[in-house]
């Protein structure tokens, strides 16, 4: 099956989509269930993703990146998610979060020190903002870092962190000036092997199981000054900047997931016969497919728009939030209808639609819930 074609898509985007799709069909599809049970992507797959250029898409070649724009990054994540949303989540997180913060706010030396490893897949990275008591209220951090000679002493716990159980490094936000709220937060790069840094529990999740999720724990962990990213006190603002770009990735992931669920539904509707004919000949099924296609098309256009805004202004803003809100919500709806089209078989693990549905629910929550997106959009509309 060929990639979805947009009227505006360039030959470059077509080549890219085809190439990423071929990669996903060959390297990921045969082991979608295996990755789900392993609850992580194996190191060897990270390296293949790195060789393919999928782990640092929007960054310059000097840092190991592919030098692409947000639109092409979104197209790539979409094609991965169409086959395996969990793998796409690991890829989206790797592209946007830790690498994003180091690229946007780190020094040249820090970029050269950490980004090539992340880009090649040799090093896996986490990004830690969320804590047990700081979710949507993301700056109410209990993690603290205190001044020490030549660096900082970090204490605290980060939760629901992608790649927590095996990351080689993590960008972690912690309070360094407790009275200053968002402006009292500093970002640190913590590296595996540092004394006082370890992985905590690994979560058992509803979906997105191919992507590892867990806790990062810091007990009197000394972090040298050279590992502070951006000026002390700027970590909170910088984290918001990172999330602004991350939303495009999650929205693209939602579009790809919905496309994958619809692909499966169309194939099934042609093949499944009831009452003497393929169920694709019944309007009840046709209308579901029409609604799926319309929602996916709208969401994809919104992702393109958000990517264009990000590219031209440096900030996706409410366009990014609208894309993330809409795409994630429709991905849940489309995946649910995909199960309905498959009937009883859709409820079994013999088909992938149950997995698309379980995976989809994360998207209305991760990197800013639907409710947080609505707050951002409303703030813009009512300003």
């Amino acid at each position: 099956m060929t990639a979805p074609e947009l009227e505006t898509s360039s030959a470059e985007e077509r080549t890219l989509r085809e190439s990423v799709r071929e990669f996903a069909l060959e390297e990921i599809l045969p082991r979608v269930r295996e990755l789900e049970h392993a609850k992580r992507l194996p190191p060897e797959l990270f390296r293949k993703l790195g060789e393919m250029g999928l782990l640092a898409m929007i960054y310059p070649e000097a840092y190991g990146g592919a030098g692409m724009d947000y639109r092409l990054m979104a197209a790539s994540i979409e094609e991965l998610a169409r086959v395996c949303p969990g793998a796409a989540l690991s890829v989206a997180a790797t592209n946007s979060l830790a690498a994003g913060q180091i690229f946007l706010f780190g020094t040249e030396e820090q970029r050269l020190r950490w980004m090539p490893g992340i880009a090649s897949g040799a090093k896996t990275a986490s990004w830690g903002l969320t804590e047990p008591d700081a979710g949507s209220d993301s700056f109410r951090l209990a993690s603290r870092a205190e001044r020490a000679p030549g660096g900082w002493i970090l204490n605290g716990r980060k939760s629901l962190i992608t790649h927590a159980s095996f990351c080689d490094l993590a960008v972690v936000m912690a309070m360094t000036d407790a009275g200053s709220g968002r402006d009292g937060i500093t970002a640190f790069v913590v590296e595996r092997g540092m004394k006082g840094f370890e992985s905590g529990k690994t979560e058992e999740k509803l979906g997105m199981c191919a992507s590892d999720t867990g806790d990062l724990v810091f007990r009197d962990c000394f972090v040298p000054d050279a590992n502070v990213v951006g000026a002390p006190g700027m970590g909170g603002r910088h984290a918001l900047g990172v999330l602004d770009g991350g939303r495009i990735g999650i929205a693209a992931l939602a579009v790809g997931l919905a496309q994958g669920a619809m692909d499966a539904s169309i194939a099934y509707a042609h093949q499944r016969e009831q009452f003497g004919r393929p169920i694709a000949q019944f309007q009840a099924i046709q209308f579901k497919i029409a609604d799926m296609a319309t929602k996916i098309h709208a969401a994809r256009l919104m992702v393109e728009r958000a990517a264009a805004v990000k590219e031209s202004t440096g900030k996706s803003g409410h366009d990014g939030s609208m894309a993330k809100l809409f795409a994630s919500e429709i991905s849940v709806q489309v995946a649910e209808e995909a199960i309905q089209i498959h009937g009883g078989y859709g409820y079994t693990k013999d088909f992938l639609v149950e997995k698309y549905w379980r995976d989809s629910k994360l998207l209305t929550i991760g990197e800013g819930t639907s409710e947080v997106q609505r707050l951002i959009i409303a703030k813009h509309m009512l300003a």
Binding site: A11, E12, T15, L16, S19, F23, A66, M68, S76
Partner: protein
């Protein structure tokens, strides 16, 4: 002394495309997006591998087609690692207006203007299935030709090609410059990685109008007068009843109605 390879690439319809006929009864080329002819992909992969191994210095793509259709094979080939491309732009012409003779004439005319040692292409284009262009180009330029090659070695001045012959592998040696056509099995074409796709758009594409290349209008030697689609699948009849009875009815139908027994 460097070896320059020229890869002939053609835009074809995806193999899963549903072929439809346009108002003039020609296989429509507008409804499905073209892809690189899959056999040409083996040729490009081989050229890029030879360049990467140091056996060749340069891999150039050569495509005859409309600028719109040729975009895909050229983009794909450059992303796979070819160094540059020459497009012979056929303008608004329907692909069928340019037969194998005219296409080969255009390719030979371009090859006379550039240094090359080896021409590689797919053994056949999956759309027309004619497999005539490589032979015609070899004839026009007086080049040695090895068809349907599944292993290729290149050294200064000569190439050694393996071909599947009847019950044996035939090993042939060609003095360069020569032309070889790629079969499945020659290699496994790579899917281009993202940095290569980004670099591809910066590689030079030399566009030459067909008339300028040929020094006039193309001379086709044959004309497609009709295209016929295969007949559609007939209705399916289910034979009902108990096994013995159904089997009797089925045999009866096969013998008396379908007349295949």
């Amino acid at each position: 002394m460097g070896i320059n390879i020229v890869c002939l690439v053609k835009a074809t319809l995806p193999t899963e495309a549903k072929i439809a006929l346009d108002a003039k009864g020609r296989a429509a080329d507008e409804r499905a997006k073209p892809i690189i002819n899959p056999y040409d992909e083996f040729a490009v992969e081989e050229a890029v591998k030879l360049r990467e191994s140091g056996a060749a210095d340069k891999a150039t793509l050569l495509c005859v087609g409309s600028a719109k259709a040729a975009l895909e094979p050229i983009q794909r080939g450059l992303a796979m690692g070819a160094d540059d491309a020459i497009l012979v732009d056929t303008g608004d012409r329907h692909p069928l207006e340019l037969d194998g003779a005219a296409t080969a004439a255009a390719i030979a005319a371009v090859l006379k203007t550039i240094p090359f040692d080896l021409v590689l292409c797919g053994r056949v284009a999956v759309d027309t299935g004619a497999a005539e262009v490589p032979g015609r180009v070899a004839e026009l330029l007086g080049l040695p030709l090895a068809q349907v090659v599944n292993k290729l070695d290149v050294a200064p001045g000569r190439a050694t090609a393996h071909r599947e012959a009847d019950g044996r592998t035939e090993v042939v040696e060609l003095a360069l410059p020569a032309i070889a056509t790629a079969d499945k099995g020659l290699n496994k074409p790579r899917y281009p990685n993202l940095p290569s796709i980004m670099k591809a758009k910066k590689k030079p594409v030399d566009t030459r109008p067909l008339e300028a290349v040929l020094g006039g209008a193309p001379q086709a030697t044959r004309r497609v007068v009709a295209n016929e689609l295969p007949p559609g699948k007939g209705p399916v009849r289910m034979v009902a009843g108990a096994p013995a009875e159904a089997a009797r009815a089925l045999v009866g139908a096969l013998r008396d109605e379908a007349k295949v027994l």
